[in-house]
């Protein structure tokens, strides 16, 4: 096969404009395909970091907006396998003009002294952590959020409450870097408690648990839910990752959406490249006749044409993947409340899959034109006039 390589390359470069147009066309489609598959991978297949894998979230079974009694904290804490339990309450509220999506970010009230146990993977300098713990009206914010709004340590952030009415002003005491989210704000649970009406006094919307070992996640989740099965407030406990994915479902049928677009894109590439290959093959029928007179077998002729198609499709694939990788930086910097995309990139399996798909598209799109061309009788081929 390698001895045909110069011929294959020469053929591919013969009609340069057509090859270039085809390559660019395939590149755009594959760029899209690469991005979408990478998104799918990030949403549903990303491996939790070793610390994230140890985190479990408990909430009211009815929904996140229904609270649970604080007394559950102690009971959950005593479940075997649980290292610590932190209260986490959605604060809500509005920063500046809430109608601007850029001003939307999640705000949670937490227990500062438990953060180090529950979120050991966070990079938050010890002095900042202590400053947060000391200041009732302090808060910590994620690096990405801080960059977006230009928050610096010592800045005061005004918020207007909705679930917990009233205007508050929080002082930034720390900026954290984490592998799983960098877009949230955390304030003190004790401070939030002051704002609570009697009705909510002894309630919270979430508990974040840290378990001892990864193997404990399933067992702990089951036994916590079992413990409150007959209580007035039933719970739903799941890994932090599963919890995050459940938010994605909120956006509608994301899986079906991604699948159908990927399908449409793949089919479009197939059409585009099939069209080009059919055109090239037609133009070369006479050449095929000559090759045959020189003693080339139909098999090797078909292989040469197929290899050309694969070369062009792969070139498009490589270019497309490079474009997709370039675009990931936009995705990384986009605000995203529902899924963590701060480390978004084209993962190796997706890249390999895209290239394989490109090669496959080359073969499939060219199979029929190359087969007909290679099997045309010599005399007919030589006489062929398009």
């Amino acid at each position: 096969m390698t001895k045909y390589l110069p011929l294959i390359l020469k053929n591919a470069l013969r009609n340069r404009r057509r090859s270039a147009l085809t390559i660019i066309s395939i590149a755009f489609s594959l760029c899209l395909l690469g991005l979408l598959m990478a998104l799918y991978h990030a949403f549903y297949f990303s491996e939790p970091t070793s610390d994230q894998a140890l985190r479990v979230v408990t909430r009211n079974r009815v929904s996140l907006t229904n609270p649970m009694p604080l007394s559950y904290q102690q009971k959950i804490r005593q479940t075997p396998g649980v290292r610590d339990v932190m209260i986490m309450q959605w604060y809500g509220g509005a920063y500046k003009d809430a109608r601007d999506p850029g001003n939307m970010f999640a705000r949670f009230a937490v227990e500062p002294d438990k953060m180090a146990t529950v979120y050991p993977d966070w990079k938050l300098p010890e002095d900042q952590r202590q400053a947060f713990a000391r200041d009732r009206t302090g808060c910590v914010v994620g690096r990405k959020l801080a960059n977006r709004h230009n928050f610096r340590i010592g800045d005061r952030i005004p918020l207007e409450g909705d679930i917990f009415p009233g205007k508050i002003e929080l002082t930034v005491r720390g900026i954290y870097d984490s592998n799983t989210d960098n877009e949230n704000m955390f304030l003190q649970w004790d401070y939030l408690k002051e704002m609570m009406s009697n009705r909510r006094m002894d309630m919270t919307s979430m508990f974040v648990l840290r378990v001892e070992r990864v193997e404990d996640v399933t067992g702990v989740s089951k036994s916590v839910d079992e413990m409150f099965r007959n209580a007035p407030f039933q719970t739903k406990t799941e890994s932090e990752q599963a919890f995050a994915i459940s938010f994605l479902a909120f956006l509608g049928n994301v899986k079906l959406f991604l699948f159908s677009i990927c399908g449409a894109v793949t089919f479009t590439i197939l059409l585009v490249s099939g069209n080009t290959m059919a055109m090239s093959a037609r133009e070369r029928v006479r050449e095929v006749g000559i090759l045959k007179t020189l003693g080339y077998t139909p098999g090797s002729i078909q292989a040469i044409i197929l290899a050309e198609a694969v070369c062009i499709a792969m070139a498009g694939g490589v270019l497309g993947l490079a474009m997709a990788q370039g675009l990931t930086s936009f995705v990384r910097s986009a605000p995203s409340m529902l899924a963590d995309l701060s480390r978004f990139t084209i993962p190796a399996p997706v890249a390999v899959l895209c290239l394989l798909l490109a090669a496959l598209i080359g073969v499939v799109s060219c199979w029929i034109p190359s087969w007909t061309a290679a099997r045309r009788p010599i005399v007919e081929a030589l006489r062929f006039n398009d």
């Binding site: 147009l21 395939i26 907006t65 909705d162 069209n275 080009t276 055109m279």
Partner: protein, 388 residues
Amino acid sequence: MAIPISYNWRNLVARKTTTVMTALGIALTVAVLLSALALVEGLRGMLDSSGHPLQVLVMRKGSNAEMTSIVTREGFQDLKLKPGIARSKSGEPLASLEMVTVIVLESPENPAGININLRGITPVGFELRDTVRITAGRMFQPGKREVVTGQGLARRYPLARLGAKLRFGRGEWEVVGIADAGGGAGNSEIFADLNQLSSDQNRSEALSSVLLRAADAAGVQALINDLENDRRLNVTAMTEKSYYSAQASSASTIQFVGMFVAVVMAVGSSFAAMNTMYAAVARRSAEIGTLRVLGFSRPAILFSFFLESLLLSLAGGLIGVLMVLPLNGVTTGYGNMVTFSESTFNFRVTPELMITGIVFAMVMGAVGGLFPAGSAARKQILSALRGA
């Protein structure tokens, strides 16, 4: 003189395979764009048909969603005495105290469940929602754990169908009726008796919002101002219409993603169209020479090839529109970022949308056809006749 359009048409028909493949590529691109837009259009349509122009929604100051708002019974007593509120036949003010919360509903498609709006309501609330009709079963009885579900929900969730039992609050609630809210937001809500629901959820005093009907159109703004300026009440008021239309922002993500995907695909498709047209020009070199000899001018040839590309993309656009037509009316759900729950609505493929799709296709055809048409027009008569 212009070259007859039948020339282009016949050429497209003569090269069936290429034409079909290129047109299909364009069609798929159009279909992707239109399906995203049909979803956005459906959500907008649902929100547009929600709310009554005379009605005012009252929430606590600082809240922009009913779910995060709290209005007490005491506040409600003061509220409904405001002047300018329409009266019912029995002479009571048309003011409805409501409670909105969210429950998770599981479905086979989504075993983890989706947030659904649950609304506690009294008879006056249905008087205000006069488009809501019970299409199956009956209305819930006050003081019982019974609910009526919107028909959009009933269609998508087995748990929201007649006779199903839902578990929340302090017991099981039976679905006793299905409501048609006339295409509005009510189709994705579950309705229950206000008093039963609020006591079940431990919030008999702290409810969510108040819906009022102004006596006449002129009085709507006055009523809003009156409520907003009453410091004692500490509430925010807006027309029910504007509350719903503000929720259209939830669709901005899907709109952006849909358009981005469509534009990237369009670049690919117009390059493919360009390829096809270049091949057409190359193959018909002798024809072009003949046309010139017959006296057709360069601009006529340019125009003819350009037109052929437009025809090709028009065919693609039409096929694309046909591909998305079956989507019209299909019920779907989408996360509403304001209410923090799922909005149920139907895809809508409107005539405007179809025109958008066809124009989009024609733009691809124009971009793809311009350069090949130019190269056809530039050909020298002699070399064109020789087929070079």
